[in-house]
């Protein structure tokens, strides 16, 4: 007796994460913010904490976090997101607090705040998007701008004699005791997207387990201000950013300190 092969219903295998609001984004074509927002939303959904999650938005292209993440969101002044997150955390010990900041916000004006938030071991998650310039304001130098890189305020290329060296935040923060997890990922190709998904998940996990601060630096393209096509911008991430900003985990504490 022959059996007809059952016709297989095709199903959607990459549904939109619940926490990611279904709307067009303001990001430029090929900007990696879209991918990174999605990974953060996925992590929140993975742990099922959307209704306990409170995001703190920063200033930069990431300022519109509240348009995309379906959680409570607080706007913080430029650079102060981690301080605002600290205030949130102290006031609401049971919530999931996350910040989403760019390289100007966290590594320039916000250095004091992130260092002390990390040092205090605040149990929050910090997502740090590094695209080596100030995107929203038109492409000025950031602390993460590479040596020789031309930006609108380093028109002749970044020179360490005038502007110092690019800062590697993930490694810097890993030296602080209060940091439970510090890592760097990229999203310029599918394999990196998958690895970064795991990193962001872990950064939320250390908060949920009360171990300490979870920090993920994600390298990103900025095609518009780099003056590159999205595909060439991806190449730049691979060939110029990753060699200076190595991918990997710099700290991963398994359990919280105790007296």
């Amino acid at each position: 007796m022959s059996q007809d092969k059952p016709s297989k219903e095709l199903r959607l295998i990459n549904p939109r994460p619940r926490t990611l609001i279904d709307r067009p984004t303001h990001f430029c074509p090929g900007c990696h913010h879209g991918i990174i927002h999605r990974l953060v939303a996925e992590a929140i959904d993975y742990f099922g904490v959307r209704e306990k999650a409170i995001g703190v938005a920063s200033v930069g292209c990431s300022v519109f976090l509240y348009d995309y993440m379906d959680t409570d969101v607080l706007e913080a002044p430029h650079g102060r997101a981690s301080a605002a997150a600290t205030g949130m955390r102290r006031a609401q010990p049971d919530k999931i607090i996350y910040t989403y900041q760019g390289d100007g916000d966290l590594a320039a004006i916000g250095t004091s705040e992130i260092i002390h938030t990390a040092n205090r071991g605040e149990t929050i998650t910090v997502v740090f998007v590094n695209n080596t310039n100030y995107g929203m304001t038109g492409g000025q130098m950031a602390p993460t701008t590479l040596l020789g890189q031309k930006t609108t305020t380093t028109p002749y290329g970044r020179d360490f004699r005038r502007d110092g060296y690019p800062i590697r935040m993930a490694e810097l923060l890993a030296t602080l005791e209060g940091v439970a997890f510090s890592a760097r990922g990229a999203v310029n190709k599918p394999a990196n997207v998958r690895r970064t998904r795991e990193l962001i998940r872990r950064a939320f996990e250390v908060q949920i387990k009360g171990i300490g601060l979870g920090f993920v630096e994600v390298l990103s393209a900025c095609p518009t201000d780099w003056g590159l096509t999205p595909l060439n911008a991806i190449k730049r991430v691979e060939e110029e950013l990753i060699p200076y900003y190595p991918l990997g985990i710099f700290k991963d504490k398994k359990e919280a300190d105790h007296l």
Partner: protein, 67 residues
């Protein structure tokens, strides 16, 4: 077999999906959407395996992968 549905209104023509598809199932079309972007089109009816590399990379969630 699998297929990809393009949400044209969301596509920004960045071509990342075109470059990551291992079987050339996507290409930029000659149509543009209301935002002025030339949108991607799915041409992999017999080729697509549903690997979803395109969906993994699309910053705008403009690609729905069915398998």
């Amino acid at each position: 077999m699998a297929k990809v549905v393009v949400i044209e209104a969301r596509c920004k023509g960045c071509e990342i999906c075109v470059s990551v598809c291992p079987r050339e199932c996507l290409r930029i079309s000659e149509r543009h959407n209301q935002s002025g972007y030339f949108v991607v089109e799915f041409i992999g009816k017999e080729k697509c395996t549903g690997c979803a590399m395109c969906g993994e990379m699309c910053p705008d969630l403009a690609l729905q992968v069915y398998k």
